[in-house]
Symmetry: C2
Subunit: 117 residues, 2 copies
DNA sequence: TACCATGCCTAATTTTCTTAGGTATAACTT
DNA sequence: AAGTTATACCTAAGAAAATTAGGCATGGTA
């Protein structure tokens, strides 16, 4: 991103990892398609994850040891369930916290009059 | 970004344009270096704009007709002042509004328990 | 004199996301 | 029966944004 800040760079470069980790933490194990539907449902269609972004992200999270996966057969189809590891759970909450702080800082920048009152 | 949403794609790809337009709207004319210092000051060093991101962004905003510039000599040094155009002012407020909505949606995703209370 | 602050800029690289596919099974519709 | 939609995984080329890493020059200060 365009910002060098005290917040983690990982965080600033997008919220997808944060969202995925948090969802997995809240809901236990989920598979990719389920995640896209859950996000669509929770945001009433305002946010729709693209698979082209989601799957590579899940693979990166797994490679980083933040999530683990196992496959399950549903008839002849296969689902790949993901769940957070212990370090993934830590990451989930710290990323979420940092995101909130970052947003507060940006909102302050966008609404300086709030502090002038 | 990783999201296909009802929010403008421009917005989702970063907040730098939003911040710059809003700052210029609030403070009248500003020059690049001044913007970096203002952001650093307002955020107490939590956010520091890099010049490698800021200057190209200013140039893009100008090419898009959202800001206008004029140079001013300070001794032998030159400052390039930017100010929002009328369409830039419109953009500033709509981008800021969309950002707030987007953030609210993400925060809801990250804190589902808020709705369960 | 050396260093740091001011003040502008660009370019190569990296990262992230979009776009645009491919593959296959299952279910529903006509 | 055929066609469409939903489910479910995936990859790859390209675009866009920011990082990194400089360059150039003036002015002030230790």
């Amino acid at each position: 991103m365009y910002i060098c800040s005290m917040y983690s760079k990982e965080l600033l470069k997008g919220t997808l990892k944060t969202i995925v980790l948090k969802l997995l933490t809240e809901n236990g194990q989920m598979y990719g398609y389920e995640i896209t539907q859950k996000v669509k449902e929770l945001t009433e269609g305002k946010i729709v994850l693209t698979e082209g972004a989601l799957y590579p992200t899940l693979h990166k999270l797994e490679a980083a040891g933040l999530v683990a996966s196992h496959t399950q057969s549903i008839g002849k189809r296969i689902r790949k369930y993901y769940s957070v590891t212990s370090s993934g759970a830590n990451q989930a909450s710290s990323l979420a916290n940092e995101f909130v702080e970052f947003v507060q800082t940006i909102l302050f920048l966008l609404n300086p009059q709030l502090s002038k009152k």
